[in-house]
């Protein structure tokens, strides 16, 4: 058997070696062409994504001047700092609250848009997606101005209802509320668009059948809409969890981490330490704490994708 298998192989190799145009032939082969077409992509990912990711691991084990290996010293140092635990806490509060509210608001708005006649839907959808289109750095500036301590347009309006001036970004807890509010404002339209697309794909017959069976609106949502949208809800939420957890623009511009480091999340604190404080190893260690949550989310998303691949 082995001989039979080897024979054509040997013949093929001798043939390719013998012929002058073997390189030319190889270049014409489908898989080689495909590889060459994907080569820039591979190089980009390898040098600018994978390499830096591992480089961050290496950097995290060095001392501040990057001259000496300190092992897990940076992490030990972080664990002893109160600010670090504040950042962990705030990152979780920030990401989880914002994602829940974005998902719920997006779901509600998508329903309202879906409810109105198809003719007007385009207009409303277009209007409601505007926060997502404006660069977040620019829209956060507008929020910063709306929150301004002395000229806040919100406080001006609220004063008519007898609600005293609110220190939107001055007080630690109000500042936490403000960064989450702005994040919801930026992210909810994305959920709305995703859910609207999913709502359109739910067949009307299901609702008719449910209505005939006497289901009220709540039962229709719970037993028809939600199960049909489960996949899209899961994947959008995971996406948003990653993006929100790794957020930088909003917190940086609105509060820059203050007051008293209460609104710092991993990205802004890593920037403060690594770039502004020029302690690159410690900054790299801080940013590495984003990896676990990203890994968990990525595993779930991948599982979903491979499942869908099997179904297809």
């Amino acid at each position: 058997m082995a001989d039979v298998v080897l024979q054509p192989n040997r013949a093929a190799t001798s043939k390719t070696v013998g012929k002058r145009g073997s390189l030319h032939k190889m270049l014409k082969r489908k898989s080689t062409v495909a590889f060459l077409m994907a080569l820039p992509l591979i190089l980009l990912i390898a040098t600018l994504v994978i390499y830096p990711a591992f480089y961050a691991l290496h950097l995290a084990t060095l001392n501040k001047s990057m001259s000496r290996f300190v092992g897990l010293g940076n992490f030990e140092f972080l664990f002893k700092r109160e600010t670090f635990w504040l950042v962990v806490q705030q990152s979780c509060i920030f990401a989880i609250t914002a994602v829940i509210f974005k998902a719920v608001l997006g779901f509600i708005i998508a329903h309202f848009v879906h409810n109105i006649p198809a003719k007007g839907q385009r207009k409303w959808r277009g209007m409601l997606l505007v926060p997502w289109v404006i660069p977040p750095a620019m829209s956060t500036l507008a929020w910063l101005w709306l929150f301004d301590p002395s000229y806040s347009a919100f406080n001006y309006t609220l004063s008519f209802f007898g609600i005293g001036p609110i220190p939107w970004t001055g007080d630690a807890y109000w500042a936490r509320f403000s960064v989450i509010l702005v994040n919801i404002w930026v992210g909810a339209p994305f959920f709305m668009i995703m859910y609207l697309a999913a709502l359109k794909s739910v067949p009307d017959q299901l609702y008719e059948a449910a209505a005939i069976d006497g289901a009220n609106w709540w039962q229709r949502i719970w037993y028809v809409t939600l199960p049909m949208m489960r996949n899209i809800i899961a994947i959008t939420t995971l996406f948003s969890l990653i993006v929100t957890f790794a957020n930088f623009d909003i917190v940086r511009i609105l509060t820059a981490g203050g007051p008293l480091d209460h609104t710092h999340i991993f990205a802004t604190w890593a920037f403060r330490i690594g770039i502004e404080g020029s302690d690159i190893p410690l900054g790299a260690s801080v940013s590495l704490f984003m990896v676990p949550i990203l890994a968990v989310a990525a595993i779930f998303i991948l599982r979903d994708i491979s499942k869908r691949g099997n179904e297809a």
């Binding site: 495909a34 992509l41 830096p52 950097l59 509600i108 409303w124 750095a137 995703m194 957020n247 990525a298």
Partner: protein
Amino acid sequence: MSTVTIDKAAPTRKVKYGSISRDRAWALRWSYFFLVIFAIFFLTPPVYMLITSLKSSAEISAATNPWWVFHPTLENYIALLTSNQFLRFFWNSAIVSIFVVTITMLISVPAAFALSRMRFWGSATLATGVFLTYLIPETLLFIPLFKMFAVIGDWTGIQLINRWYVLLILYPTLTVPFCTWIMIGYFASIPKELDEAAIIDGASWFQTLTRIFIPVALPGLIAATIFAFTVSWAQFLYPLVFTTSTDQLVMPVGIITTLIKGDVFNWGQIMTGALLGAAPPLIIYAFLMDYYIAGLTAGATKG
């Protein structure tokens, strides 16, 4: 008329019959009511930007109603559009975005074609890897990348930090994975018969791509282009970390670092700058909304 009399005679039955259309009417009214509330919430900041941008600094600091412009003026727009510094930011942003879009398309379209049609060793793994790369946020990579470019500068003498063109190397890491991913989806939806016919007619792989795949998947290509442009226009972290001199800055960072001087906020100009910075994506969105939304939903639904 008769229904009205029945209504009075037997109210319970009437409610049952008319309830569906009446329910619909009420549901519609409530939908509009809440949509208006949400629209107000979503549009307040951009509208307030516009309001403030039309005010003079005297009016901004006056104790009048902030939601209304009493003496509209274009002085903020004139000040910014005649300042060389601001025009420089705009120019830098435009150049960077256009180059990044070009680079992104040149990398991701052939790669997506190869990954969706021509299998090679490890191509399936690479397709998944591309998607995973899209999930890695820039906030995880900016510190090692900063150090990397500093080391490259020391070794080779090629100064990359604090030059606007460093952004041309950095932004593709954000745009290429997603664009490749959605182009794979669009290419995969093209029927196989189409490219088989082209190959039989003697077209090379390259011709199949340029003559068949690109024209057929043009909507996807437009969506990917819009995505790449918006991402590179809006990116804030990389330019903040990698560029510092005022002549190398792009719009978002330029507005924030130069218009905010210490504790003095020139809000009229800041809002004008923010509005001008938000204008290009908004204009593209206004004209190509369907492509924009197609690109947005493609990532999750086409996978």
